[in-house]
């Protein structure tokens, strides 16, 4: 009996020793890595705001094409911005990809980006939202519409004001604009382009509009039929869900909607500038743009065909000026938050 106890102890002891040795070598490895860093700047660090599959496909295709390795952090636009803020003393990211051009412009204004004016294919991009000085490039966009559950809703709404009807009471939701860059873009663009926008938003509130979660969370409620429709639904997610057989459809109101540009930029403190430039080039290349279209996003290059979704010229648009809009977006966000608190 005693032997048994001892055996157990011995085994555990041995396990501990191994583990500690493992730990030691672990830390060794990381310090090795740190010291080796200045030598080889092969690794490129990308902070990318979704969509999940697209970011990974781009990573894979880019690594195969250039032989450069990518370390990627994925999160919502808000998460990436906060990470950049926390890491100010100790910058890590080389490239940032955000789902909001306004936020990107904010990074430019606060002097955190570097220009890459002669990016390949930059002239093929048909959005005029890219920065004129080349600090960021709009490589794709998504249109924000009304995603609705086809089991619960027979014909979709035609105008934003349709949603003020009492038949939508308790059946609407919307992504939280402080989490979702595109939802913020939507309110900002809608309020800027339409004078009665706030009145309409107020009427949605009267209809018990639920504001919660990031884009997919809001759409998920519609997919499962918990809610009937999502305002400011990101269209590419709805198209993807539809392709997977979910009972969901997306519509763009005739009065026009906001198209939210998605931008890529190189950080000022980037350690791997060469790799960063190659990444931007790749995103704007035909190959990169095809991957964008495969993810149901609107590609920046209009020569690239979209599949199973509305093309750019089929979507009624509201005119929005994104330059220098970051500060104004804070006001819009505060106003919205006060309303829905």
């Amino acid at each position: 009996m005693k032997k048994n106890t001892f055996k157990m102890f011995a085994v555990t002891g041995a396990a501990l020793t191994f583990a500690l040795a493992g730990c030691g070598s672990n830390t060794d490895k990381s310090s090795e890595k740190a010291s080796a860093k200045p030598k080889e700047e092969k690794v490129l660090t990308v902070y990318s705001a979704g969509p999940d599959g697209l970011a990974q496909n781009i990573e894979k295709a880019f690594e195969e094409k250039t032989g450069k390795k990518i370390e990627m952090f994925q999160g919502t636009t808000g998460k990436i911005l906060s990470r950049l803020e926390a890491e100010k003393n100790n910058p890590v990211a080389d490239v940032v990809v955000l789902a909001s051009a306004a936020s990107m412009d904010g990074l430019k204004q606060s002097d955190q980006l570097q220009a890459y004016k002669d990016a390949e294919n930059a002239d093929k991009i048909n959005f005029d939202w890219s920065d004129g000085e080349g600090y960021y490039h709009v490589y794709s966009a998504s249109a924000l519409g009304i995603a609705y559950n086809t089991k619960n809703v027979k014909d979709g709404p035609k105008k934003w004001t349709d949603l003020a009807d009492s038949k939508w009471k308790g059946k609407l939701n919307m992504p939280d604009p402080s989490l979702s860059g595109s939802a913020l873009d939507f309110i900002f663009g809608y309020a800027a382009a339409d004078k009665s926008a706030w009145k309409t938003i107020e009427s949605w509130k009267k209809n018990e509009l639920q504001v919660n979660g990031a884009n997919k969370e809001a759409l998920e409620s519609v997919i499962t039929g918990e809610k009937d429709a999502t305002i400011s639904g990101v269209d590419y997610m709805a198209y993807k869900a539809k392709a997977e057989g979910e009972p969901v459809e997306i519509t763009y109101p005739e009065s026009g909607t906001v198209i939210s540009p998605r931008a890529v930029a190189i950080m000022k403190d980037a350690k791997n500038v060469e790799g960063a430039k190659a990444y931007v080039d790749f995103l704007l290349s035909d190959e990169g743009q095809k991957l964008v279209a495969d993810a149901y996003l609107l590609p920046g290059n209009k020569d690239i065909a979209v599949k199973n979704r509305a093309a750019l010229d089929e979507i009624p648009q509201l005119e929005v000026d994104w330059k220098g809009s970051e500060a104004k977006q804070v006001d819009v966000l505060n106003k919205f938050n006060d309303m829905f608190r």
């Binding site: 106890t5 157990m8 102890f9 370390e71 919502t76 926390a86 979660g213 499962t224 966000l333």
Partner: protein, 553 residues
């Protein structure tokens, strides 16, 4: 003893300081010092802001309700498991800890999927749709959190019952009046210290909880401290100083509660242990008691395990989410996707496994050394180390995580582990060190002094005493601590959300992000695998411990 020298104090204290105290100092510095000067504007702003007060109110209310909720579940459960015929079924203890091992955000996602409009409940019983509105309120939140946290209080109460010396009860039987009165006059006061300790810990744990408020709370617009801190750090526009100010505020609240707990705990402490073991008495039981016990236990198990797991498993098997529970809408596709070579979900899961095992081992070694040094906390140094090494148990995890981020990003540091995997392990170790210390300490407390005395008389040298006597006797405690650390590390969410380096995800952050941006079915498949591994692990360790105990007898 070996671990008593001044040098070992210095080493241990340095470790504890570097990992647990420095982050807290970093928070204070960041909050109060702006541009090199003392700057109190942010703190002032904190109190002008009515939203902060509302958050405080929300957190407090939730804490109090969950204290009540866990008591309603845990107290009867502890009695059932010690005083009725159900005390024979030891497997129940493992089953009853499953809710605590279930990551809280997964549990609440399960409940949400079950209770929401058009959710599983309504698909099964359409007439139950009226429940939905009532459930999506603070009531539902308290229910979910109580069901998650009760095992904690239950185990404490059950152990108090078991430790209670039989002679007290015999005396009561002989001299007391009726059973009910005996219970109130003798058992209840003896339970009081364990209960107060447990229930105030539940309160602190509720304040510290992030998963349920982040999933269920955001749904009903119920904001608490942890979610607000996380929001200031991760939602745009970012306000780090607001986050540290709030962290400091939350920290103070928890310290006050902890102080209260100490004060009350001391007041109600009675010696209920003596050298003699309680004799096991045979139980004669009337059938209504047996029936009630089984019904109560079943209800608790259905609510705490049945419902959330039904939702999780059903979701992981669904083909088309919008179709609901229909025959033909089920497949193993999510699992297939998960296990096809190097999928993101599997990688995330393996990362969690690696982080958790490393953390369990490191904290076991550190915790063992610290527990031996502290012993009963008689000298001042022992008390100091005791207090500081247990701070992570009093202070909410998110506060430590914020502190660690601030500390490891400080501009004067020559090198940093920020943005490496080591940072994750350090964070986990800081957060979970108290578990291993406490488990080792409690098994140390069970060793009678006579063991040490006889060991020093008959033992050859100190190392032998350690090797043959102390460590083997403490082993069950150390292993239990490792088990707890492993399980809790596996489900840690908030640390991962805030400090994981690029390209690294843990199971928890993967599941969370699948709900935010990706595929819920795959997320739930990872959840199922995670919980399965922890349950298997738990049964294994239970078996090892049992063997250890038998060998000791």
């Amino acid at each position: 003893m070996i671990i008593e020298s001044r040098r070992s104090f210095t080493i241990l204290f340095a470790i504890v300081t570097a990992f647990a105290i420095a982050p807290l100092i970093a928070i204070v510095m960041y909050t109060f010092i702006g541009e090199g000067r003392l700057d109190l504007t942010k703190v002032g702003k904190l109190f002008e802001n009515s939203a902060v007060l509302r958050t405080l109110g929300n957190s407090m209310l939730l804490g109090i309700f969950v204290m009540i909720g866990t008591t309603i579940i845990a107290l009867p459960m502890a009695m059932i498991r010690t005083k009725t015929s159900l005390s024979r079924y030891n497997w129940l203890d493992i089953v009853l800890t499953i809710p605590f091992m279930t990551p809280p955000y997964i549990g609440s996602m399960g409940w949400i999927l079950f209770m929401q409009k058009n959710g599983f409940l309504q698909q099964i019983i359409p007439a139950a749709s009226w429940m939905s509105d009532y459930f999506f309120s603070i009531f539902g939140m308290v229910l979910i959190m109580s069901l998650h946290l009760f095992p904690f209080l239950y185990l404490m109460l059950r152990n108090a019952y078991l430790r209670m010396n039989g002679s007290f009860l015999d005396a009561a039987e002989i001299f007391g009046r009726n059973r009910v009165k005996n219970w109130f006059k003798i058992v209840l006061p003896l339970l009081a210290s364990s209960y107060i300790l447990g229930v105030l810990l539940i309160f602190i744990k509720t304040l510290a909880e992030f998963g349920t408020p982040a999933t269920f709370g955001s749904r009903i617009g119920f904001k608490v401290f942890t979610t607000e801190i996380h929001a200031y750090l991760s939602k745009w526009p970012v306000d780090i100083r607001m986050a540290t100010s709030l962290s400091l505020f939350l920290l103070s609240v928890c310290l006050i509660v902890w102080y209260l707990q100490n004060l009350l705990g001391r007041k109600y402490a009675f010696g209920i242990l003596s050298g003699k073991t309680a004799t096991l008495r045979t139980i004669e039981e009337k059938w209504p008691i047996t029936l009630f016990s089984w019904i109560f236990t079943s209800i608790i198990l259905i609510l705490s395990i049945g419902i959330p797991y039904f939702s999780i498993i059903a979701t992981s098997l669904q083909k088309v989410r919008g179709e609901g529970l229909v025959l033909g809408n089920f497949s193993f596709d999510a699992y297939k996707e998960l296990f096809t070579g190097g999928s993101a979900g599997l990688t995330a899961f393996l990362n969690s496994l690696m982080f958790s095992v490393t953390t369990a081992i490191v904290t076991a070694v550190l915790g063992f050394a610290i527990a031996l040094y502290i012993k009963k906390g008689e000298t001042k140094k022992q008390k100091v180390l005791d207090f500081f090494s247990l701070t992570p148990n009093i202070i909410p995890g998110i506060v430590f995580v914020v502190g660690l981020i601030m500390f490891w990003n400080a501009p004067w540091l020559p090198a940093t582990i920020y943005n490496t995997k080591a940072m994750v392990v350090v964070a986990y170790c800081v957060l979970f060190l108290p578990y291993s210390i406490q488990y080792t300490k409690s098994s140390l407390a069970q060793l009678d002094d006579s063991i040490f005395q006889s060991a020093s008389i008959f033992g050859r040298n100190l190392w032998d005493v350690y090797r043959h006597i102390i460590i083997p006797l403490l082993m069950p405690g150390i292993l239990a601590g490792m088990m707890m650390t492993f399980i809790i590390s596996m489900r840690e969410l908030v640390a991962g959300l805030l400090i994981l380096p690029p390209s690294v995800e843990t199971g928890a952050t993967f599941i969370y992000s699948q709900f935010e941006q990706g595929n819920a079915s795959v997320g739930m498949a990872v959840a199922v695998i995670t919980v399965m591994i922890t349950v298997i692990f738990m049964f294994l360790l239970d078996w090892v411990q049992r063997r250890g105990e038998r060998a000791n007898v």
